[in-house]
Structures are given as structure tokens and as C-alpha cells.
């Protein structure tokens, strides 16, 4: 791989990784092109732009939305998304004026890779994982999202091979937008449940 961050003061962990890589290559269990391909896929092909397409489709197509909420795995599969890191099944939970959903994995860092890509660092760190189940409303307010007490908060702790994605509310003022324009509004954080999709400025 290229030397993106591996400067002269290469950290010891990077060298431990290279040592293990070299052994696995010698044993016929790895190659540098395998590493390059995995990095390429997760840097380019799999990320929140996939989930954003799913959300936009659900916003413009009520029949698709019905299928998405009934069987998330099959419905995202219609758009070509699925596979590794998706656990075994995707469940899509819908935000409404009365219910706000939030996704976490307190035991490790399970996350719906096929639709959101690899998780951000904060999702994997102890602060979020410890607090999301204990004080979700406070956590959301630290993300700048004030959820009124009248709104129920549902926290989905991904403890098995079921993965969760939030279907955010469609913002007002977007009635004239097409699917691609809508998808451009949808953020990763909105699909985790720590943000809303903002209205058009």
C-alpha cells in the first residue's frame, strides 16, 4: 500500500500489522492486492451514500417504503446493497413526529456496513456506547438535536446479527426535489439517529 500516513516515525502498531501481514502472505492466506482491494471497496463503493439512496427512494415511493419497513434486507437488496458487515438482516426503523430512533452497539461496534459503510470513530468509542442507552436524550442534545420530552426515544442496541438503520423524517420544503437531490440531503448521522435531515437552506 502507499505511504498515506506511514511516515518515518511509523508507530509500533503499524509495524506489528506489517509483521502479521508478511506471515499471512507467506502462508498463502493474504496478498497485498487483497488489502488494496478491501480498502478500495470501503473507501469508494460502500458508504452512507448507499443508505441515502435507500432513504430518498422511501421518501418518494410509498410502496418501496412499505417494503423497506417490512423487510429491510430485501428492500435495500433491490437497490443492490447487502452483504458483509450487514449482520444477517437489516431492520429499518422510522422516525415520526412521535418517535425518534437511535442506533448503538454497547458490546462492540455493530453497524449496518452495506448501507452506511464503516462506522465513524465516535460510534466505536466508550463515551457513545456507554451513554446512548442510559441517557439518549442528553446524548442527542450534545449532537445538537433537541428531542422534546413528548417524543418517545427508542434506542436499538445491536446485540445480535440484526443491523439497524434509521429512516429519517423528510424535511419540509423538499416536495419538489427529485430522488437524487433528496439523497444528497441525507447524512450518515441522520441514519444513525443522532441528527435530523436538515431542511433546504
Amino acid at each position: 500500500m502507499g505511504g498515506k500516513h506511514n511516515g518515518p516515525a511509523e508507530p509500533r502498531v503499524a509495524l506489528r500489522v506489517r509483521a502479521l501481514e508478511s506471515l499471512l502472505i507467506e502462508k498463502g492466506l493474504l496478498s497485498t492486492e487483497v488489502v488494496d482491494e478491501v480498502v478500495r471497496v470501503y473507501e469508494n463503493d460502500i458508504g452512507p451514500m448507499n443508505g441515502a439512496k435507500v432513504v430518498a427512494r422511501a421518501w418518494v415511493d410509498p410502496e418501496y417504503k412499505r417494503r423497506l419497513l417490512a423487510d429491510g434486507t430485501a428492500a435495500v437488496g433491490e437497490l443492490g446493497f447487502g452483504g458483509r458487515g450487514g449482520g444477517d438482516r437489516l431492520v429499518v426503523v422510522e422516525n415520526t413526529p412521535a418517535v425518534h430512533n437511535l442506533v448503538v452497539c454497547t458490546l462492540c461496534s455493530c453497524y449496518p456496513w452495506p448501507v452506511l459503510g464503516l462506522p465513524p470513530t465516535w460510534y466505536k468509542m466508550p463515551a457513545y456506547r456507554s451513554r446512548a442507552v442510559l441517557e439518549p436524550r442528553k446524548v442527542l442534545s450534545e449532537f445538537g438535536l433537541e428531542v422534546p420530552e413528548s417524543v418517545e426515544i427508542r434506542v436499538w442496541d445491536s446485540s445480535a446479527e440484526i443491523r439497524y438503520m434509521v429512516l429519517p423524517e423528510r424535511p419540509r420544503g423538499t416536495e419538489r426535489l427529485g430522488e437524487a437531490e433528496l439523497a444528497a440531503l441525507v447524512t450518515r448521522d441522520a441514519m444513525i439517529g443522532v441528527a435530523r435531515v436538515g431542511a433546504l437552506v
Binding site: L30, T121, V155
Partner: protein, 234 residues
């Protein structure tokens, strides 16, 4: 195990600190760790439950002091040595060689078949659900209480939800039980449920109203509520 990985409800970790415009990888070695893990599981050197338990076994102080991909590296090293894929001695010798000379090249090897297999593994994923259909003991709406259990090995029933009363939200189907699969005892598939818990049941009377936590829990973690059960904590 009651490890430090089981973070739900702990306090003292401070604020959440999102990074603006975070890159997918912060350094090349992170991508290499991800690729090694997918390659190892694709080639069935270990399974995902063994992998998670490998992270849990890395030691509490070390867990808190290291990053996500360092957790992964620790588990990969542990499992590859335990499975006999590499020996501890050769891993230590090779690591020492790279510490002594960071410019050592990686061996060159082309393996288009493995690249294709990896692409396929990423595209298709791995199944944890089972075709078997043992009849599910609970139905949506049933009241359950989680067992008060503290197994020394791997489990996916978090501490904060042990001995707690909840309601079955839905039946997901029949899935591999991690508690056995992480320890070489096979998949032993069991019904898996989404179970809803009121925040006040989990955190006491001071908990905020209108908050609920949903967990995905296997049937052996659950007892019917209302019986004498072993679940409820005093």
C-alpha cells in the same frame, strides 16, 4: 464475561467527540487490519463470535487504552496463534524484525482467486440465521425477564439488561447462539427476539420517561415473567 467491553450504562467516559470530515481510515495499517480480518473469516480461520470474544479477552486496561483497529489486531493475533495458523514464536520474531528495520518489504504474492473470493464475501456476507425452525416459546407482547447470569465466556446479554423485565417486540427467527459458537461448541441455533425495555426498568425511577431500549436476545437468555424464575435481582 463481565468485561470492560460491556459498556452500556457505564459513566465517566466524558463527552462524545465527533471528528469533522473523518476519513474512512486514519492510517494504512487500519485498512490492512480490516482486510486481514475479512480474509481470515472468509477462509474460515475463525468465526465472528470467536473474533468478538478475542477482543473481549485482550485485557481491560489495554482495551480502554487502544483504538478500535488495535482491538481487532489483538484478537486476530490471539486467534491465529490459538488456531495454530502462526506460532507465537514466529509472530514475535517477525514483529521484532520489523521493529528493527521498518523498511523491510512485504513478500510479493499474487492471488487473483483470493481477491475474487473476498469480493464475493463482501458482496454476500455470512449467514447467522438458520433454516431450522425450533418452535419459539414467546410471542410478540409476551412479558419476559432476562436471566441474571454471569458466564465467564462470551455472551451477548449485556450486564445492564440482566434480571430485567421486558416485552417481546418481534420474533426475528432462529439464529446461531454466540455463547456456544465463540467457544467451539457449534452454532446451536435458537429463536432470537427483539425485546423492549422501559428505561425505568433498566435505570430506576430517576430515568427519563418515554425512553425505551430494544435488545436482540436469544431464547436461552429469557424466562417468562410472572414465574418465580431465577432472573429478578433483589
Amino acid at each position: 464475561m463481565n468485561g470492560v467491553h460491556d459498556l452500556g450504562g457505564m459513566q465517566g467516559f466524558g463527552p462524545i467527540e465527533p471528528e469533522a470530515n473523518e476519513p474512512v481510515f486514519h492510517a494504512d495499517w487500519e485498512g490492512a487490519v480490516l482486510a486481514m480480518n475479512i480474509a481470515a473469516m472468509t477462509q474460515r480461520l475463525y468465526n465472528v463470535d470467536e473474533f468478538r470474544h478475542g477482543v473481549e479477552r485482550m485485557g481491560a486496561a489495554r482495551y480502554l487504552a487502544t483504538s478500535y483497529y488495535e482491538h481487532w489486531l489483538a484478537s486476530i493475533e490471539t486467534l491465529l496463534v490459538e488456531k495454530g495458523v502462526v506460532s507465537r514464536a514466529e509472530l514475535e520474531a517477525r514483529t521484532a524484525a520489523f521493529f528493527a528495520d521498518p523498511d523491510l518489504p512485504l513478500p510479493r504474492r499474487s492471488d487473483p482467486a483470493l481477491v475474487a473470493r473476498m469480493r464475493e464475501a463482501i458482496r454476500k456476507g455470512a449467514a447467522a440465521s438458520s433454516e431450522e425452525r425450533p418452535s419459539a416459546r414467546f410471542r410478540p407482547g409476551d412479558r419476559v425477564v432476562t436471566r441474571n447470569m454471569h458466564p465467564p465466556g462470551h455472551t451477548r446479554l449485556p450486564r445492564y439488561a440482566r434480571g430485567r423485565r421486558g416485552a417481546i417486540e418481534r420474533v426475528h427467527g432462529v439464529f446461531t447462539v454466540p455463547d456456544s459458537h465463540a467457544h467451539g461448541r457449534g452454532r446451536q441455533p435458537q429463536p432470537l427476539y427483539s425485546v423492549a425495555f422501559e428505561s425505568r426498568e433498566l435505570w430506576g425511577a430517576a430515568a427519563a420517561p418515554r425512553e425505551r431500549v430494544y435488545l436482540d436476545l436469544w431464547e436461552p437468555y429469557l424466562e417468562p415473567d410472572g414465574g418465580s424464575g431465577d432472573g429478578r435481582q433483589a
